[in-house]
């Protein structure tokens, strides 16, 4: 029996687990004791990584779906050649930008980097990721404010902070191990700001139930109170920040009366919260999708950063403006996918950066894209507009997870080629494709992930591949060879080679990891970036302890904006607000993997359901387990089973994201700067289905 320590590839905590393997079968999985993130515990998903591809398996061979929908299994050689020939021909016919790809935050950093090389540099196409759906807001907010996409915290800060403010975050369900670390903190005051009385709100010291998407007004008002009462850290503001005076002017107009009208929170309570922040010596702010997935998300995230900065709650233990990431390797994508940023968090339009990269890769500088990729929604637009004819989807399920997902299905009809690379041939998206490239779970991969607190950890092959099985990395190399990329592909020979390249990409940047020896990552406690050659290893480090940011002048920018109205606001025809989010700990996203976990299957609803306030349900004549049709401002309708609750406001509804019906209703509304979709605030109407109790 061998024991291998590897990294879970579900959420961004990226816990480490010990896999007990015998005869190439996983006998049991136990969380790694002593690993800084999870120290001997984990959630049900990681514990059941062995269930992937057991009940639902691909044939292990690529398949081609012809015009009549008939399936032909082909060899890998044929698949790679078909890919290269078809892509080449489409690009020749319609132009270089007539192809694009959509990738994921759940493949290894090495795979992301190699894809960024083949897709963005060799093919010269745009490529975005599902990280656009969750983290691009944080990335943009950090980049604008700090000068680099740099989440400043370490998870230990959850245990040391004396005042934990959670904004639009529900760790009990979404980051269970982060919640268990909060539970270790016996003295902290926990405040949850969320329109919904979530599982986390129920367990907090104080739940502030703001009106949906009134967060930016709330946060500016809070800043105003803090400034007026002089509950700010003047020294820190002067020495470490920029724009305070104009920021102060901006928030001046946010009066308590105005805030009470807009947010539903009394002036008394806002002052009380300000008081708690002031009294706290180590105040930390944490946010996730409630903030990120909005139409003014970046500015909202920055409002949180502004609060942390003006109160001097940055760069010290237990403090910070801390964004919790979604996927296990969203961080890897942000830095090394070569999509929104040039390798290593560099800029595509910076000549020095371009030279560095072209030299590391030994390629002509002309190969480096001139600008970041067009975002996900623009890719869909261009497919619908006829400009993009080929789409390559890797490890994600847009037919379910894309906002206003019917649009993706429509777009596919306009494609001449849809390639899907995934571990399942039966996802909503795989079922639509022309060419399917079967990959394998991370259990069979070698590489690395970077977690939410910048911690790099090893992904080791726990199981050996069966004959004919290829990892995403192998598939990318196969495609690269079919394209006859030539000598420059040799630098990417193996994931280890890619890791060495990644180290070079990071050199000199804030995310520098030139001091990391991959071999030492195995059976280790992981290493947070930065970790330069010669650095001393300290397990749980945070950024900005030296009070220097990554902006040219080293100061953090206080950024703000006038609140913008919801482009898809509730009105007469659609008077209710639909919120969406994770439903349970066990279900992951579109359930392609977690559907194989018996524990999860036994304890979750088989089909779409929606939470509705008791009073609203009564008004509409709906009882528990009856069905309702929800119609959205985006023009679509979905059927849900109704679960009355008192955890949400009277005119609000909440539907878990794990059922395709939910995103059938979300609108095509995006943040102006991050282009992240607004999933949390959709105007809808509700109708009872007559004779609906089945």
């Amino acid at each position: 029996m061998k024991v291998k320590q590897s990294t879970c590839n579900y959420c961004s905590l990226a816990c480490n687990l010990d896999f007990y393997v015998d005869d190439n079968k996983i006998k049991k999985i136990l969380p790694t004791k002593g690993y800084p993130v999870n120290d001997g515990f984990c959630c049900i998903k990681g514990l059941n990584l062995s269930r992937q591809c057991t009940k639902f398996k691909t044939r292990g061979m690529p398949l081609i779906r012809d015009k009549k929908g008939k399936i032909h299994f082909v060899s890998w050689k044929d698949a790679f050649e078909t890919f290269a020939i078809k892509m080449n021909s489409i690009q020749k016919k319609y132009g270089k930008q007539s192809a694009a790809y959509l990738s994921t935050g759940q493949i290894t950093t090495e795979e992301m980097a190699l894809l960024g090389f083949i897709g963005r540099m060799y093919m010269g196409i745009s490529g975005d990721g599902n990280t656009r759906l969750c983290m691009s807001t944080s990335a943009v907010a950090y980049k604008q404010s700090f000068g680099f996409d740099a989440p400043p915290y370490t998870l230990k800060d959850l245990e040391i902070s004396d005042t934990i403010v959670l904004v639009g975050a529900n760790p009990v369900v979404a980051h269970p191990i982060a919640w268990s670390r909060i539970r270790e903190n016996k003295t902290a005051k926990i405040i949850t700001i969320d329109p919904r009385k979530s599982e986390t709100a129920v367990n907090s010291d104080w739940w502030i139930g703001i009106k949906p998407k009134s967060d930016i007004v709330f946060l500016y008002t809070l800043a105003n109170v803090l400034i007026n009462k002089n509950w700010i850290d003047r020294d820190y503001i002067v020495n470490c920040s920029e724009n305070f005076e104009i920021f102060k002017e901006h928030v001046k107009k946010y009066s308590l009366e105005y805030a009470e009208r807009k947010t539903g929170i009394s002036g008394k309570d806002i002052i009380k919260l300000a008081g708690l922040i002031h009294k706290g010596e180590k105040v930390s702010f944490w946010w996730t999708m409630g903030v990120n997935q909005g139409w003014q998300a970046v500015r909202t995230a920055q409002a949180i950063i502004d609060l942390a900065v003006i109160t001097g709650n940055m760069g010290r233990e237990g403090t910070g403006a801390n964004s919790l990431s979604g996927q296990c390797n969203a961080m890897g994508s942000r830095l090394y996918s070569n999509t929104t940023a040039l390798y290593g968090g560099r800029d595509f339009d910076n000549p020095v950066h371009r030279k560095e990269i072209s030299s590391i890769l030994d390629v002509d500088e002309k190969m480096i894209p001139e600008k970041p990729t067009i975002p996900y929604n623009e890719i869909i637009n261009r497919i619908n507009g006829g400009d993009i004819k080929a789409l390559w989807v890797i490890g994600t399920n847009p037919a379910h997870s894309w906002a206003n997902n019917g649009e993706f299905k429509r777009a596919v009809k306009n494609l001449e080629l849809l390639v899907v690379q995934d571990i399942y041939a039966d996802t909503d998206t795989s079922k639509l494709c022309d060419l399917f490239l079967p990959s394998v779970p991370a259990l069979k991969k070698e590489g690395s992930f970077i977690n939410t607190e910048r911690r790099i950890s090893a992904v080791v092959p726990v199981l050996k591949k069966e004959k004919g099985e290829l990892t995403d990395y192998d598939i990318l190399l196969g495609i690269g060879r079919a394209f006859k990329i030539g000598k420059s592909l040799e630098k990417w020979k193996t994931p280890r080679h890619a890791f060495e390249l990644i180290k070079e990409f990071s050199r000199g940047m804030p995310c520098d990891i030139t001091g990391v020896d991959y071999k030492k990552l195995i059976f280790s406690r992981g290493i947070q970036w930065p970790f330069r050659e010669g650095d001393k290893l300290d397990d749980e480090r945070r950024l900005f302890e030296d009070n220097r940011y990554f902006t040219p002048n080293g100061k953090v920018k206080l950024i703000y904006e006038e609140p913008v109205k919801n482009p898809a606001a509730a009105g007469e025809d659609f008077p209710y607000i639909l919120n969406s989010g994770r439903g349970t700990v066990g279900q992951w996203h579109t359930q392609t993997r977690t559907r194989e976990i018996e524990f999860v299957k036994d304890s979750s609803m088989a089909s779409a359901y929606i939470f509705m306030n008791f009073k609203l349900a009564e008004r509409l004549g709906l009882k528990r387990n009856e069905y309702a049709i929800i119609s959205s401002i985006n023009g679509c309708k979905s059927k849900f089973k109704v679960i009355p609750t008192d955890n949400i406001g009277e005119n609000q509804l909440f539907a878990p994201i794990h059922y395709i019906e939910t995103n059938f209703l979300t609108p095509s509304v995006f943040d102006r700067y991050s282009r992240e979709p607004s999933y949390k605030c959709t105007a809808v109407n509700v109708k009872k289905i007559q004779n609906s109790r089945r």
Partner: protein, 135 residues
Amino acid sequence: MKRIKIDRNRCIGCLTCTTACIVSHNCADNRSRITMSSSGRYAPIFCRHCDKPECVYTCMTGAMSKNQETGIVGYDKSRCASCFMCIMACPYGVLKADSENSKEIMKCDMCQHTESGRPQCVERCPMSAITLEEV
């Protein structure tokens, strides 16, 4: 004796208890589970260490036994003959055999072997849906 009280209205089906049980016993199987009723309500199904334990009455090797002092119904796998009468006898369908060899009964032991001696499911439940009460 101490028994685990279950408040099913607080349960959110997070399966932290299932995870805690598996981790506490260092094994591949759980000894308790969460299911959903026909109306969609969570039902934590845990061994009750019954006063009149059917599993003990039906055990013909003495592997299942009730400890009169602690009230815990214990399982001695070295005596067990894997006849599975206990699985059949439990009126609440709590028991099953191990998934690897189908030999050992997955029986809650109230985590007596842990340092604190307290059931880990109770310690880890984030919603206080399961608590230890004196009965």
